[in-house]
Amino acid sequence: MERASGWQLLKRNRAALVALWVLVGMVVLSLVGPPILVSIFGDSARGYSEYDFAPPGTVAAPVDGERAQRYLFGTDISGRDLFYRVLMGARVSLLVGLAGAAVSLVLGTVYGVVSGFCGGKIDAFMMRVVDILYSIPRLLFLMIFIAAFGKRFHDGLDGLRLAAQGRGWEDCAELLQALLPYSRIGLLIVALGLIEWLVMARIVRGQVLVLREMTFVKAARALGQTPFGIVRRHLLPNLATLILTYLTLTVPAVVLDESFLSFLGLGIENPAASWGSLLREGAEAWNVLDSHWWLLVFPAVFMSVTMLAFNFLGDGLRDAFDPKSSR
């Protein structure tokens, strides 16, 4: 009864639907916003200017032929348009959040299915490992890891680029050249995916324990279906909505971790931006003498709204699809 009405329950949840549209809007805005800004204002939208710390709404003096730049959200310490930077930061933060959550989805699901399906001693051991990992400060290791391998990863990519250039693969070299400033992002995606899979593994394992005792799974086993076939044909389809739910709740966790690292100066680096690194700049710019409040407030609003939307949507999905969550 409950399973059938899951999507209906979700549709009746006004807050979750609003949250979904807010997220769609945020993604669309971050994708189409920067090119539109560039097409209106030309290159001044993304570059440096002499207007440092201009308050929101400042209009720059028109430069020959081009339209005068209007700084909707003000500018930062080197006169860059904050609106443009917040949107570019949204791209990075959302990309890391979604891709990192996808990594954790794969890891957590595989781990949970194996643990729940094997059962017995293996299950007990695997879950004990999850418990231990859950109660140590994983981000500390991640910080050391990134500090240790961030540069190596970058150098490795650079080496690949040179090798490609040496062989005359111009397209490949250009692509790698373009990717170079973003090497940190790739590292962050993998690393954060590697630490945020624990909740997913636990939930999936719990549900597999329930499912594998069900009659249809027993029937499949009796009919000679291989374990792999049972997982693929019977378990995964029944896990899909649960996985989707916890995926939605993992994304904000990864976004949070990424901004945590960027805020401490270990994540995304200038000139690339993420919400975390923008917040760091904002926090530094607010001092006793001057309050450049916009540098803190605008990234904070964007990030908070996104996080809220993800959590609202995730809670709505959980209420609709998680049999264990109580209403």
């Binding site: 004990r128 109660s135 540069k151 949070l256 917040l279 803190l296 809220l308």
Partner: protein, 309 residues
């Protein structure tokens, strides 16, 4: 019981050993080396430096030596804080982090339990909606947003609190609130859900039939049963507070262990990093042991020894 503690101590030693190994090799692999200053240095001086800081020999020799020293309680020498032992540096900085963490811990558990109970007793009415809205906000807005905003408004604009540093008990207020806020929310949610479940139990119906008020039932009869998921969360909570205090300490400029950890990463201060991680992990693992014992005491149905999940 003794067997349980013994088993747990064994697994503790394994965990700490893994933690040390991972931290040691991760922080050692950093490029640049600890003594590179851009200037050429005569070979014999480099050699002497390496010897002094325990960096001579292969990686495994260094690792073995480090483990040996660690077993004797010696955490090694810091690269950055020249001529100071890591043990000294940590002993000086850790109390600040511990005070901050304990205050936040108390706020998070007590505040969360009270808030969750209020929400559960008034469920699907305004106290519930209000409490859960607050919880969602507190979970969604991270510390590094609330921290700078609170400093900017309450400290710099209104001057109610010192904007940072470690001068008076007043300078603890904002950091502790910032650090605790998300976890107040987590605990409140856990508490609300388990409370609602318990409030539907038969013995609660009996209590209600006796004519007790909802509040009295919640506080006197349901609390002990409903608090179990919160107790299970205390271990991860401690780990999260450790991570969170790193940001809070750097936002508020507190002289705690979290801040020297960040500095240590930037300076590849291997032994300092290892030392901090080891001390933190020991604290957390010990704390988890206490929580497990507490859990068994609260719920005798759980046979200590094979409890997990």
């Amino acid at each position: 019981m003794t067997r349980f503690v013994f088993n747990r101590l064994c697994s503790t030693i394994i965990v700490v050993f893994c933690v040390i190994t991972v931290t040691f090799f991760l922080s050692r692999t950093q490029k640049g080396g600890a003594f590179e200053s851009g200037k050429e240095r005569p070979a014999h001086i480099t050699e002497a430096l390496e010897k002094k800081y325990g960096l001579d020999g292969t990686a495994f020799e260094q690792y073995a030596r480090y483990l040996g020293n660690l077993a004797r309680g010696d955490l090694g020498v810091s690269f950055r804080y020249r001529n100071r032992r890591v043990g000294e540096v940590i002993a000086q900085q850790l109390p600040v982090s511990l005070i901050l963490g304990s205050v936040a811990f108390v706020i998070a558990t007590c505040g969360g339990i009270v808030l969750g109970m209020i929400a559960a007793v008034g469920r699907n009415r305004w106290p519930d909606y209000l409490a859960m809205l607050f919880a969602l906000l507190a979970i969604s807005v991270p510390t590094f947003i609330t921290g700078p905003l609170l400093i900017g408004y309450l400290s710099l604009r209104l001057g109610w609190f010192p904007p940072g540093g470690w001068l008076s008990p007043m300078s603890l207020v904002l950091p502790a609130i910032c650090l605790a806020a998300p976890y107040v929310a987590y605990v409140a949610r856990l508490m609300r859900n388990s409370m609602i479940e318990v409030l539907g139990a038969d013995y609660v119906r009996t209590a209600r039939a006796k004519g007790l008020t909802e509040g009295a039932i919640a506080a006197r009869h349901a609390l002990k049963a409903a608090i179990l998921p919160v107790v299970a969360f205390l271990g991860p909570l401690a780990a999260n507070l450790v991570t969170g205090s790193i940001v809070v300490e750097s936002v508020f400029g507190l002289p705690g262990a979290g801040r020297i950890f960040v500095n240590g990463i930037q300076n590849s201060d291997t032994f300092l990093l290892c030392g901090i991680v080891v001390v933190y992990c020991l604290l957390i693992v010990f704390f988890n042991l206490v929580v497990d014992l507490l859990y068994g005491w609260l719920d005798p149905r759980i046979r200590i020894g094979n409890a997990h999940g």
